[in-house]
Symmetry: C2
Subunit: 894 residues, 2 copies
């Protein structure tokens, strides 16, 4: 499509729309859903959406808009004017509009909303007249100046707040409602003066300037630091862009027959199928979300449950309530998902401002998915697709031990479940700094704002004094899977003094507190936690998932504890048992060091003989836990210098315990020094130089297998894995040694051992020569950590210096050590899979890097035809679910 | 072929043979040529060849021979007996045989020869009777015991020598010729006693045991440490195996009508078309090669030229000489190459024992190839193929400055040309050790033996007191391209005292000497050298080569001096100009460091501004030298910490010169520390973080281009190369900056600059996403050093710990940093070439790793379709010749 025939603006309202819900990529989530609601005949204030393509074109074109945009907007405004029967900038009966950003996915950190746009010194008079409410008109104008000044002109929010607070103090007013129209007029004068003073320019009076200012601000905020941070944290490509929604204003603040609210069709915290929502009478939408006033419940049931004395919407406006419930039902049935909606009641007339799939906690997501499948609303497969695998992480985090003593300081709203404990910090910057220094922190704020995203990310949990369940803190924390207690009004925070007072006690910065996002409790000190019970819905969903997935899910486990945890989480074997950790244990490191400084093979074998029984014991224990399941054991991988001390006094200690000269230790340490240990004498290269190490390990494995077989009658199938192979000949040499040891052990024990010898594929050279390697290897396990390092030529240990910058600058969409780089590393894996299977048709292949627990990477593993993924125990359920989703989606698309 | 019908033994003799010269892989070089000579009707003692397949089968089968071998050997022995009219082990008229190894290529380090096999206490009497020469018979027997004891039974050579020397001393004998038959009988008794004493077993009397002992020794020596070392140094796969040649003995030591000799059809030192050879009357072949007696010239011409008083063969045996010359001519015409032959005259009857393509110096190779092409014997293409490109290296090494003062200590034979200078060492182990410690050494030995291979490899040159032009030292040194003076009989070496005396002066271990392998002079101290003049033949050959090659040859050059050298050697541009070396120069390192410790971009730009004019000057100079040719300039590549000092006192110096606190330097050094710098913050990653560095360099390049264009009217075409790109987005970002700078400079200067922006392909990820990268890159240059490091996951800096072991153990056939690993790294390059050309059809691609000067790698580059290779200046001719050979061979095979 050439620029000249591009449609940049999509209109909606009055029961029609040019867009649909399917057009999210173009219209953003909000815009697409406004169009969809319009088409469904649901009352939506008329408006239009400026597409995400405009955003992309804007940035691609040196921050210039497409030429035709302006005229398309003018036409769209005309259509609103016609439907609303008002004119934009009309001093008599002015049309006011809201301007909102709307990306494909909801994105904190962007310019969110400007309301009441179209007011100026003239139109405000018209509004006063047409609404018959002068106070309302001037209040709206001052709100507009405040909001526009803040988000569009970049003035400080508190500049306006200070003016208002001073004015109230001077006049003895307590609440905003105490101010009259004349008070607001005076406030407006002062606001405008402040704008002029801080911004060197008058507050814009031309309504078209206002509109373009707001549009610019939305598109500008797409590249703001906060938005970029959020995109990085959530893997949102910057190329998506945002849309802008311009919509006729409706007013929830036109008196007591007006209101505004937000609602969920089901409870977003626990998933219970009950309408859940909050509203404020005589308020604008931002008042609810910003958490400035504590809102009322929509249903009577919720009011009673919360023990609130404020009347519910159900009680206050029963007719409107009924209409609302009808719309809610219609929307959930239409979208087949729990909806999060915003509405405004203007003078008794209901308007829907937004609907979208509601954010929910993971346990809510599971319950809703399982319930909807059971209700017949969606299929079981659909239910499996509804839960974000990564979010399962939350469920597996510990909760408070009910038997532990709790010293409760205060109780707020249970805004995001899970327990968290840490040092109190009062600023996001400090939260980030302390986290970087290894501290665990709880971020305590009066309320949070998009500026706090980095601090919330760094904190274990978030505690706010103000705001409801739908406040910024609550919504963002749930999205992040962080524990959050919001609206704990009993705590008094003093930022200056860096402390808060609750229950008459003072908690200072650095003091430890525990919060329980499931109960809303705030406790002094660290409270004991326990492993969470997984719900029946979780089991149901995982069963549905297991039915669909093709990938087996194993775990990376080096210890019996890890192995047991993993089995509980559904692991189907061990995909990676790293043996080096075993050598670091206090009772073996000495023998290991003795081996390393040994002068010849005989002395090395002597030292290794001491380690053998311990290794055998390690393996026997794992084999018992993994009864009947495959266990992949990797031979020693790290360079030997990692086992030697480097500080002089430590070296001295080692020399003494080994009874050798310090100089001998020193010379060995310096001999073993490497410039690039990652690319050094490690992996199979160690085995080539010191085959006796591999032989000892093989012996320990096979002897343990025999022992466990005899003891349990259920012998394991050990898979001996040779790491860092670049060339078949390396594997040949070591495989022959391993096989020889297996034969010896079988002869000695008079039993037969079933086993396999395979290799890690973690070097690019191994990938492109996988056909050769497969002639010898009985299985492949992709070591995607090292493969990512070598494919990119990036050391993980050193990458922090630039990898963050790479994602911020958009060079990398996501950290390739977190989510597998499908384009590059994935291509190498694809080559290896094809070549490997060419040589050995039914070869077993898996992945054992940390990517095995990353849903996107699991999807790739499914698509490329691997047999299993292996990940850390806590990620096993994530991998199971992700594997199922990959299988379902692949089926759908085939 | 199943084992049961395999032919393991090939017979020859009496004008017939079962093999041909084509069957080198199966029969080894020696065996194939013996068969060929037999077929040509040239007198060859009857015999048979045990194939290389036996060797391979032997090692593949746990050191067991194929079952049918024994009977096939028995039959072959029978045939020899029939032709020779003698019987093996016959006490009356015994057949004696020689046993020789013979691999595809001549290979020092292996068991070479056992002569006179078949003698024992009984058959010696028969030999005495049948030859009518008792002394000859017992001399032969003691020689056999000595040789067999040494090479088959593993006794020490000097044990026998000591017995002989003591006997001679005791009896007042000076030369071996003084000993009578009875003396030899007594020697034999003592030799056998020594065998019994040192070997715990009698010297074998069964002739079949003797034969199998020798066969075992040949096959056993294939896996000896020396043979492996040689194979490693010469890239010979261990899978080739060796053949064994068993042949009826003929005797050059049956009195004065007998002789033995070696000859070349042309002079192997300079290629002149003159018969060149040496012989000894009444001697066995080993006497000539071992350099124990100084041999006589074959032709009168050579005798006169050498000023020798010993008669030539031409004078001594004119008839035989004529026959010999006829055979030589026939062989050279038949093989169409210069031949190296061994012959023996037994009692006036000529026997040919070996012919093969003669080793020659590089200048000889060139002259012979050009001469033969001019003679019409071979084509020009064939001439181009005849010269080993790697050997050109020799020619380009410096020779002695004729004007330099020389303090000549002695003069020996000019055994291998070129001048060399270094510390005197007397053992090969020490040569290797000192070389490893960075010393330049000259290995000085009475004579060398296969045990000295490693020392000869380590030394700059070799000086021996004994031995002729065909002695071990001379042959091996020529093969290695090392300077060698052999047979310098005037120097008296004392191994004990670690010195030698020459010209009345004592030269101790560690003293510096210079040898001139072209003149045979040995000089005290270091003598000045000059660059060699290249011969007209060289130019002719290179012209023929240039006509054929498809690859362009550029050079890697950072300095004007390198660039000028390279142009002289025929470089067609610069393929890699590393800019970092420019930053290390004394006048810029300070500005560089200032930049590195700068706190912000502004300060960095200030420091960079100081470097700009110097960089511009560097580039301008290179552009002028490379007038009209392409120049590829790589942007700064190494991590910044490489530019900072690491010792405290150095850091202090830097702090002072920059006027900052020491702590600031220290903190920056520690901030920049990397665990794996090879995989660290370098290459394009630096440019992403500090685009101002890339901008400064781009400006320097473009300003220099404008300047040179204006000055010379011949503007260069700079190719700006971005290193270490893993992902297109990195290149995008930097390319945009470079293009912006180019536009600025063009605008400022009012000129147009032709330039390209391209990238190194040196990461596996770049290879597999080359199609994406090619959308932006205008050229690719494969950085095969880093690509080898990342593909293998091997740090070049750390590889020494295991890479030698890898080649010795046969895991790697050749060091992949020396010769490109075609199977793995080559596959990545192939993928990148295909993908890159898919995206950009006529994309220019080259290679700029050190592999660009390695002939095998150049062949790969040709075959994979690159446009050019770039290598160090001295390797440019090598690359030109290798490229031509690759093109000719590809044509032949297509």
């Amino acid at each position: 499509m050439t620029a000249s025939d591009t449609k940049w603006v999509y209109r909606f309202g009055d029961g029609h729309a040019e867009g649909t819900a399917e057009m999210k990529n173009l219209l953003g989530g909000k815009g697409a859903n406004l169009a969809e609601m319009s088409n469904l005949g649901i009352p939506v204030p008329p408006g239009f959406t400026i597409t995400t393509q405009v955003c992309t074109a804007f940035y691609d074109n040196g921050e210039h808009y497409p030429e035709e945009l302006s005229s398309q907007i003018d036409e769209a405004i005309k259509q609103i004017e016609e439907i609303a029967g008002m004119k934009f900038g009309d001093p008599e009966k002015p049309l006011l509009v809201s301007v909102r950003s709307g990306a494909r996915v909801s994105m904190p950190g962007m310019m969110d909303t400007v309301l009441n746009l179209g007011l100026n010194d003239e139109t405000v008079k018209g509004l006063a007249k047409s609404s018959g409410d002068e106070r309302f008109a001037y209040d709206s104008y001052r709100r507009f100046i405040q909001m526009y000044g803040d988000v569009v002109m970049g003035l400080e929010h508190h500049d306006f707040e200070d003016i208002l607070d001073n004015y109230k103090d001077d006049n003895g007013y307590l609440a905003d409602t105490d101010l009259s129209a004349d008070d607001w007029k005076e406030i407006i004068v002062r606001f405008k003066a402040s704008v002029k003073e801080n911004h060197d320019d008058d507050f814009p009076q031309d309504v078209n300037d206002q509109l373009w200012g707001a549009i610019n601000a939305v598109f500008g905020s797409w590249e703001s630091a906060r938005a970029k941070t959020y995109r990085n944290l959530n893997d949102i490509p910057s190329g998506w862009g945002t849309a802008v929604n311009v919509q006729a204003m409706v007013f929830g603040n036109m008196g007591d027959s007006s209101a505004t609210g937000v609602a969920f069709t089901r409870d977003p915290a626990n998933g219970v199928n009950e309408l859940y929502g909050e509203f404020l009478v005589n308020a604008q939408g931002e008042d609810v979300v910003a958490g400035i006033r504590t809102p009322q419940n929509i249903t009577e049931l919720a009011r009673k449950q919360a023990g609130s004395t404020e009347p519910s919407l159900e009680a206050l406006m029963p007719e409107t309530f009924k209409e609302l419930v009808g719309i809610f039902d219609k929307l959930e049935a239409h979208y087949k998902d729990m909806q999060d909606m915003e509405f405004t009641i203007q003078d008794g007339k209901l308007w829907m401002l937004q609907t979208r799939a509601g954010k929910r906690t993971t346990s809510a997501a599971i319950k809703i998915a399982v319930d909807m499948a059971n209700e017949g609303l969606i299929s079981q497969d659909e239910a499996v697709l509804r839960v974000d695998p990564a979010s399962l992480d939350q469920l597996l985090h510990p909760t408070l031990d009910p038997k532990a003593e709790r010293d409760v300081l205060a109780t707020g709203l249970p805004a995001s479940p899970g327990a968290a404990c840490g040092e109190v910090v009062f600023s996001s910057d400090e939260a980030e700094r302390l986290k970087g220094a290894g501290h665990e922190v709880i971020l305590v704020r009066v309320e949070t704002s998009p500026e706090d995203i980095h601090g919330m990310h760094a904190a274990n949990g978030i505690l706010t004094a103000r705001g409801g369940m739908t406040s910024h803190a609550a919504v963002v924390a749930r999205g992040m899977g962080k524990s959050c207690v919001s609206g704990a009004g009993d705590i008094k925070i003093d930022y200056e003094a860096e402390n808060f007072v609750a229950d008459g006690r003072t908690i200072a910065r650095g003091d430890i507190i525990t919060i329980d996002g499931s109960s809303g409790e705030v406790m002094k000190g660290a409270v004991a936690t326990i492993k969470p019970e997984l719900s029946g819905d979780f089991d149901t969903l995982m069963k549905w998932a297991d039915k669909e997935r093709k990938l087996r899910v194993r775990t990376n486990a080096d210890t019996p504890n890890d192995a047991r945890n993993a089995v509980e989480f559904g692991a189907e074997g061990i995909g990676l048992c790293r043996t080096e950790h075993m050598f670091f244990e206090a009772d073996r490191i000495l023998a290991m060091r003795e081996m390393i400084i040994a002068e010849d093979e005989a002395a090395r074998r002597e030292a290794l003989a001491k380690i053998l029984p311990m290794q055998r014991g390690d393996f026997a224990e794992l084999f018992e836990i993994m009864a009947g399941m495959p266990v992949t054991i990797r031979l020693l991988d790290p360079p030997l210098h990692e086992f030697l001390p480097h500080a002089e006094n430590e070296m001295d200690d080692v020399a003494k315990s080994l009874g050798v000269e310090l100089s001998q230790i020193k010379s060995r340490v310096s001999e073993l020094h490497e410039f690039n240990p990652m690319l050094g004498h490690r992996g199979v290269r160690l085995a080539v130089t010191y085959p006796e190490i591999a032989e000892m390990q093989a012996r320990a494995i096979f002897e343990a297998a025999v022992e466990v077989g005899k003891k349990t009658g259920n012998p394991p199938i050990p898979e001996v894995m040779v790491p860092l192979v670049a060339k078949k000949a390396e594997l040949d040499m070591i495989a022959e040694r391993i096989i020889a040891v297996a034969n010896e052990v079988m002869e000695e024990s008079g039993t037969t051992i079933e086993y396999q010898v395979g290799t890690m594929i973690e070097l690019p050279r191994a990938c492109v020569t996988a056909d050769k390697i497969a002639e010898r290897a009985e299985f492949f396990s992709f070591g995607t950590n090292d493969l990512t390092q070598t494919a990119f030529g990036i050391s993980r240990d050193d990458a922090s210096r630039f990898i963050g910058e790479y994602t911020i600058k958009g060079i990398l969409e996501v950290d390739p050590f977190v989510s597998l780089d499908v384009e590059g590393v994935g291509e190498l894996i694809k080559i290896a899979v094809e070549k490997g299977r060419n040589a050995r048709k039914d070869m077993k292949m898996g992945i054992c890097g940390e990517h095995g627990g990353d849903p996107a990477s699991v999807t790739f593993c499914h698509n490329v035809g691997l047999n299993y993924v292996s990940c850390s125990p806590f990620r096993v359920p994530i991998a199971r679910l992700a594997a199922a989703q990959a299988a379902i989606l692949a089926n759908k698309n085939s």
